[in-house]
Amino acid sequence: MKDAADKRMTLSEAAQLVQSGDTVVGGGCCYSRTPWAMLLELVRAERRGLTLARNLMCYESELFLASETASKLVSSWVGIGLRWGIPKVFREYVERDPSIYEEWSHLSFGMRLMAGSMGMPFLPTASLLGSDLLDRLPAEHIRCPFTDQLLVAVPALVPDVALIHVQTADARGNAQIEGPAYMDVECARAANTVIVTAEEIVPSEAIVRTADRTVIPGFVVDAVVEVPFGSYPHECHGRYEADFDHFDGYTEMVTREGVAGVQAYLEETVTAPGSFAAFLDTVGASRLLEQRRRARELVAA
């Protein structure tokens, strides 16, 4: 797959690259540049028992648990943002069975992906030292062979699949990111299979003209899917703000109805529309364009 000259496909075709039971890492951070369309495609495709890893998780955490798409989550933080707090159903699941959630610190999680992306089985860090997190994690104390400094070694994370949403990519998978890169590059380099969704697929000539902005080379990518608003209702830097009203509606429903609220949300946004494009239609063009306008206010210099 990786050596194909044209890797364009649909979301549902890309979902075929993910097997039940896989470890899947998602790019972005919390509600920013989340590969939302692709995550929900895995719910639609009824994948089961995934391990979902993401540096900071938003409410995809409880969507995946409540739909049984994931049976385990790996992260450093789970929350929707100051205004909405921790996802209620995620909390219920973990309070019932703490073993379904593996908690790292942000950097130690990042060093696991960096190790994977470097082809190294471990990396050292000063994080986790002295904490109770360390006792519950598959990480080890290590001493520097030169200075004898006490450090923590974290094991490489080599996900089966990485889901990355970017602003632009070409048909071969060469991808460019605007704004913060989060851990997307490490995800793409570490994973064995890489699915890139992009706001826009652009001609290769456009990539070549700005080659020092390319952060993911096509030779690590297996699938490229053009998905405008592919992070919505989350944000995509420079393109659209997160839809906080949508978050309000979601959290109200889940506060009221718990896991049934989560399931109703999936019914509304995944099952009933039948496709991500049809879901965007239910949102409506004017609301999407308003999110775009709000993004422009924040990036215009």
């Binding site: 921790i86 002295g130 913060p180």
Partner: protein, 264 residues
């Protein structure tokens, strides 16, 4: 100017701790607000760094970020990089201050943002470390900001997400945390420091109008007391006005609301 709320007292006291020209790694919420306020008032060359990869952002009043990784947190930054890069500058020692919040905090400055109760059968699952553990493990001087409530100031945290002095300076050293140190806890009632010998929290100064007894009553452990307890100056009108403008902004977001104070 109407009187300051407890949160405003805390935020303003926090902002005054930040010196110009330094670099502060701030958590979202009150630590970030304190940092932005400092930058707008007495520390125009303060560099704020935020977990999501944003270095040197200036905030749009009324549109403060709700999470550290979003576009509002990147507004007018002079560098937007990857999360690992951002944290590794800290691990290298480039961040003067680390400024975090706390769910639960004990007498050694250990912070819990993971579990209330037994981690194997938790009463409450909290959001987790995020970058807090990394910040306290790497930023040169660590400061914590939190409401002063007995349920937060406990004898021993249920779980050490982000280590303070553990059981004292020697235990911190032997855990490998040798390159930095916790220096202050800022609350709505007081400014606390750490006793050098024991690593225990010490009452250094009171917020205006707060008594020593009130602080003890709201602290779930025996709090050391400085030889001469100070009193923090009350917020100035300018501090309050700036902080409120930051938080509320204008109703209508227009380019005019854009902050233009200082160079990055």
């Amino acid at each position: 100017m109407s009187g300051a709320t407890p949160i405003e007292l805390m935020t303003i006291a926090g902002s005054r701790l930040l010196r110009d020209g330094r670099v502060v790694f701030a958590g979202v919420g009150a630590p970030l607000e304190a940092s932005v306020l400092a930058k707008r008032l007495h520390a125009p060359s303060l560099t704020i760094v935020l977990e999501g990869g944003s270095i040197g952002p200036r905030m749009l009043p009324g549109r403060l970020p709700v999470s550290t990784n979003e576009m509002r947190a990147a507004h007018d930054a002079f560098m937007l990089t990857s999360i690992n890069d951002l944290f590794l500058y800290g691990q290298r020692g480039h961040y003067d201050y680390g400024f975090i919040g706390a769910g639960q905090l004990d007498q050694y400055g250990n912070v819990n943002t993971s579990y209330i109760g037994d981690p194997d059968a938790p009463k409450v699952r909290l959001p987790g470390s995020g970058g807090a553990n990394d910040i306290v493990s790497s930023c040169c001087e660590v400061m914590i900001m939190t409401r002063h409530e007995p349920r937060r100031f406990v004898e021993r945290v249920d779980f050490i997400t982000s280590p303070g002095y553990l059981n004292g300076p020697e235990s911190r050293r032997s855990a490998g945390l040798v390159r930095n140190r916790p220096v202050a806890v800022v609350t709505d009632m007081a400014l606390l420091g750490f006793d050098e010998k024991t690593g225990r929290l010490r009452l250094d100064a009171l917020q205006p109008g707060v008594t020593e007894e009130q602080v003890h009553a709201n602290t779930g452990f025996e709090l050391l007391v400085s030889e001469a307890i100070g009193e923090l100056p009350p917020p100035t009108d300018q501090e309050l006005a700036e902080l409120r403008w930051l938080r509320d902004g204008n109703r209508i977001d227009t380019p005019q609301t854009r902050e233009v104070t200082s160079a990055p």
